[in-house]
């Protein structure tokens, strides 16, 4: 898949995953790279930015195995932003699909 596409939707994926349950960085990287082939390191700058914008809060939690983990949790502001992005994404992908359908589908 095109790099530009992937990076653009990475933000949306991260928001959606964290909206479901609080997650730590490694866990997020795993969930994302399972579906999208992306450099996992880029999610950390993204997480920092979204946290700074007030979309996430973070807390450290001990783990039974290994080091303590920094968890990300979605704020109300983050949820509103996520919903906005989802609507935009749905509209955008619908338009593109319709266009493809119209042009190529009728060939």
């Amino acid at each position: 898949m095109n790099v530009q596409f992937k990076k653009g939707v990475l933000e949306l994926c991260v928001l959606v995953l964290i909206s479901n349950k609080d997650q730590y960085g490694y866990e997020l990287a795993q969930s994302i790279s399972k579906r999208i082939n992306v450099a996992e390191g880029t999610i950390y700058p993204l997480l920092r930015r979204l946290t700074k914008e007030g979309y996430f809060t973070t807390y450290l939690a001990e783990s039974s195995e290994g080091p303590s983990r920094k968890y990300y949790s979605l704020t109300n502001k983050g949820r509103a932003y996520m919903n906005q992005l989802i609507n935009e994404w749905n509209e955008f992908s619908k338009s593109v699909n319709e266009l493809i359908e119209e042009v190529i589908g009728n060939d």
């Binding site: 790099v3 450099a39 390191g41 920092r48």
Partner: protein, 183 residues
Amino acid sequence: MTKEDFLKSLGRELELQKVPEHDRKEMLYDFEEHFEIALANGEKEEDISRNLGNPKTIAKELLVDYRISKAETDRSVKNITYAVIATLSVSFFNIVFVLGPVVGIFGAYIGLCASAIILTLSPLLWVISLLLGSPNILGFFVAVAFCGLGILLGIGMYYAGKFLYKWILNYIKFNVQMIKGVH
């Protein structure tokens, strides 16, 4: 690349860009945690590094956000300049779409500021002409009127400067979002 190489490379890059130690440690922490959990999960250091990607690229992305937030919280010409430069370094695309408009508008702003200063100082020119021995009462009124205009323009420029600062910040943020991580 081993864990140590990766963290060193990332840390060195951030250090070169003069990110203070406190912020640097915070940025590196995320990656240390990532390595530790991945290692505990049975992954190999080389694989973890490869999946994370190029530390230099990651450093650039961290730097853009750091510079922008610095320019937001601590308003200074130096900080906004750093923020613009960091934005430029993330992609070639930005050299056209950020540098062009920013330099153009900033140039116009400097020009207007210079006009405001010259207009404000115009009574001085009248005083000089007086010393040269050609007292001209009309010239005096013109100079006072220019001075008034200059002060008004100066006040306008003060507010325009604040607005411009915000505009540049929003503009580079918009660009970072547009090209987010595309190299």
